[in-house]
Symmetry: C2
Subunit: 135 residues, 2 copies
């Protein structure tokens, strides 16, 4: 069993913060898990684009490509634009991908959504701010 | 020592997903921690607005108000609009708030930003999608 590819999709922004967030998170994921080759790609404004990173994954020795949108919640990008780029069958989150002359599964994951980990992260940001600012 | 207020700020959206995310996360935070009275408020489109929830907090028995933006990263709302609504001193993340006739500290926390917990959440979304779709 080889490694999986993870395409981490960001929205992109004229400001630098979205790009920094996506790139740093891609590094943190790569450091946390040997299971994935992680590449960040952007829907607009920033580069590399989603399409460019899909091309880059075609040369990787991967058994599966997982596409993870680093978006807070569903919306037009999640429900329409990304499935179109991935050429997913209508209404499906499972497609195929050509890499190294092989056809491998492509899996489209959910955006962040409501999750106990997100609640934990908000509590952490709150207590960090209190610790830092309430002297 | 009494409880703290947490105003969880969402962007707001014409679609229902952002509102659902903010409200569900507010409930998860309240369930996780007795420390806070949590209220969700929105910058635009959805209600209650940030201003309405600030008014609601004036009647609560709280020792401190922590404002936590449920945004992925910094941007114009985070850097300009929210500090204006909170009447924070220029460039500061610490202000004051009037509640029950008392002046209490107001602390403005960071948005999500890059964090190991976010990397963990993305890995979880990836493996959930694989488990669900790769049969």
């Amino acid at each position: 069993m080889g490694r999986k590819g993870m395409l981490l999709i960001g929205h992109g922004s004229k400001l630098r913060y979205n790009k920094e967030l996506i790139e740093t998170t891609a590094e943190l994921i790569a450091r946390k898990s040997d299971e994935y080759i992680v590449k960040p790609g952007f829907m607009s404004i920033n580069t590399p684009s989603v399409e460019e990173q899909l091309e880059a994954f075609r040369k990787e020795e991967i058994d599966m490509l997982v596409v993870v949108p680093l978006f807070l919640a569903r919306g037009v990008h999640i429900d329409r634009d990304i499935p179109e780029i991935l050429r997913l069958p209508e209404g499906s989150r499972r497609g195929t991908f050509q890499a190294n002359g092989r056809t491998i599964p492509l899996i489209y994951a959910n955006p962040i959504g409501s999750d106990p980990l997100l609640a934990e992260l908000m509590l952490k940001n709150a207590s960090d701010a209190i610790a830092e600012l309430n002297d």
